[in-house]
Amino acid sequence: MTTKAPFELEKLSNDEYILNMGPQHPSTHGVLRIILKLDGEVVKDLYCDVGYIHSSVEKMCENKKYEMIMPYTDRLDYLSAVNYNWGYALAVEKLMGITVPERAEYIRVMLAELNRIMSHLLWYSAYGMDVGALTPIMYAFREREEVIDMIEGMTGGRLTHNAFRFGGFRNDLPKDFMDSLKKFIGHFNDKIDEYEALLINNIILTARTIGVGVLSKETAINYGVTGPSLRGSNCAIDLRKTAPYSIYEKFDFKACVGKNGDTWDRLKVRMDEMRESTKILKQAMEGIPAGDIMAKVPKIIKPAPGEVYTKVESARGEFGVYIVSDGTDKPYRIKFRSPSFSNLSVLKEITIGSKIADVVAIMGSLDLVIPEIDR
């Protein structure tokens, strides 16, 4: 949070003025403040001011036992909570050398991909609102509801699932899970076509997004941009492919990439990613073995001293957990590397020179979740 103004009013030319976008603004997706220096409608400079909902999660985690930290990871990114649970569970499992049973891995993959679809559907709806189309949200939420119902059946939670245990799951999949999943996979691809026809391929939207907010591959990597936003810049980096964790090597899917790295490519990548997730879900549904869902885990989680960093591909990019253990039942230091944090930092680079409306369009295409920036 900055307390001093980033732009000095005296230094502005006569044509320029400052516009405060946020912290309360319809399209900043939470409490994010962007200070714009404008000339008419053209953005001359901008400054991101974050930290309005900083809750010091890392400090809290230092004072909690390992198993108590899991719900906190839900709250970081409430839209892809499963992936965040996974990132944290993976770290502790790696630190303790726990091997997860195969059935549990399959369930994890299924939940994570459902969660990715859920997150991308919400992004799609929110993006529609950002660019002024009010109808897509209703259509996307129709399918999102199905996904949430499935995840709710498994975990009991609709948004913050707290689903994972170290070593697997507490409960097996509910009986009707496979049926609803089958039904969902059966019609979801058609629905994605519908979404694309409604918003993504709309002529007004393509005019607004193609060639706007171009993010080059080099800039993206330099700024640590990850996830769909990076892949939009024609860079086939998907942690599920490049640094496979769990059992992702077993599945046949591709990392979707865009061509030019403009806003539209980032939108398209997310739409394609939903199709790929459906593919993974289908394979997981067919290949899921019977067996245990929980590994043998000691009653008290007390990892040996050491440190670990694990990363998973969340819906927004690379989510990493860095744990320093000192041999007690509480982590000595825990650091969450959240994708939106780095993705937001590139905003200034790609926005300068465009219009106010573009700021909204570009920011939406980065798919930010503020709590994981502020942590």
Partner: protein, 351 residues
């Protein structure tokens, strides 16, 4: 029974008779005739106001129900049967809410803006031909009056943007000014081609020129499409809702408004929607003309047909960007409208 039928199908005649009859009685009392005219005008004004308000109530409900249909949801369904009283409940809520005047506003323009925006929309109703002879004031320059009066709206929006003393409002107001001014021109060119075809600016003449189902929508199909697009832009509805672009400018020029002042903007928006549709129906779809049903019913059917198209567009498209908006007007709409005018003129000359 006969009288009602006459009133519905050929309203001009019984109303004219009523007027002469009343004047006869008035003269018998020895009162000056201009007083009676004044009374008549007040009655007409009240009637128009009733139409405006009732229509706005209905059109808001219709918009909400139609958007609900498009968005696979139910829409208002709690207040009254089928939610029909929802708008009334909203209006009451807006009336009894606190009217907030922010500290920094320029109080004069802040107060006058809703009125400047609302009064023209109200005034335009005076020249709308609702039925045969059912036109509050059949001016010689009817359509010119419409264009002139609706042009005043931009002053209201500018006043609202400036008076609010808020950067978002100001950007909204300026966007709106640029938008309305640049879309006014193609609109006038389209209207001009209609005037060329009828040779009159009188609304009743324009309707009469289309009698026997020679609706202008056939020869002027390009004009009709241009008019719909441009008209939609004129009234600041999506995809041209830049002045109040929610995701960019919070609420644009009406960010700082609350309670009844906000209700005026809201009312004006929907009334404008109705007006644009009504004018489109009059100019292109033969006005009140139609078989079987009374003219006034046909007028509303046609108007609501156009309203539905505009709403359909609104709930489907994302918002256009401000520079694209200008480009679209100057590079596409204006040349097309101009070409349409020239072709119309040539064809009329030749035929």
């Amino acid at each position: 029974m006969e009288l009602i039928k006459e009133l519905l199908y050929n309203s001009g005649k019984p109303l004219g008779e009523l007027y002469t009859w009343a004047h006869g009685i008035w003269a018998g009392w020895g009162a000056p005739p201009f007083l009676l005219d004044l009374i008549f005008q007040i009655v007409i004004g009240v009637a128009v106001a009733a139409v405006v308000v009732l229509n706005a109530l209905w059109i808001i409900y219709y918009d909400r129900k139609l958007s609900a249909l498009m968005q696979i949801r139910k829409g208002p369904n709690r207040v009254g049967p089928l939610g029909l009283l929802q708008t009334i409940a909203d209006t009451v809520k807006l009336m009894i809410k606190e009217d907030i005047n922010p500290k920094a506003v320029d109080i004069f323009s802040f107060w006058i803006a809703p009125l400047i925006i609302f009064i023209p929309t109200f005034a335009v109703f005076l020249v709308l031909p609702f039925g045969k002879g059912l036109i509050p004031a059949d001016l010689n320059i009817g359509i010119l009056y419409v264009v002139a009066i609706t042009g005043l709206t931009v002053i209201g929006i500018l006043a609202a943007g400036w008076g609010s003393n808020n950067k978002y409002s100001l950007i909204g107001g300026l966007r709106s000014a640029a938008q309305i001014v640049s879309y006014e021109i193609p609109m006038m060119l389209v209207i001009l081609s209609i005037v060329l075809m009828t040779g009159s600016m009188k609304m009743s003449d324009i309707v009469a020129a289309q009698s026997h189902y020679k609706w202008f929508v056939i020869p002027q199909i390009i004009g009709f499409i241009v008019f719909l697009i441009v008209g939609n832009a004129e009234i600041n509805r999506a995809p041209f809702d830049l002045p109040e672009a929610e995701s960019e400018l919070v609420a644009g020029f009406n960010t700082e408004y609350s309670a009844m002042k906000f209700a005026f903007f809201y009312l004006a928006e929907y009334t404008n929607l109705f007006l644009t549709s009504a004018i489109a129906a009059t100019l292109f779809l033969g006005g009140w003309e139609g078989p079987l049903l009374p003219p006034i019913v046909w007028f509303f059917i046609k108007t609501y047909f156009v309203v539905t198209i505009l709403m359909w567009i609104r709930w489907t498209f994302p918002r256009i960007r401000v520079d694209h908006l200008m480009e679209f007007s100057w590079k596409y709409m204006l040349p097309i409208a101009l070409l349409n005018l020239v072709i119309t003129a040539i064809v009329i000359k030749l035929v």
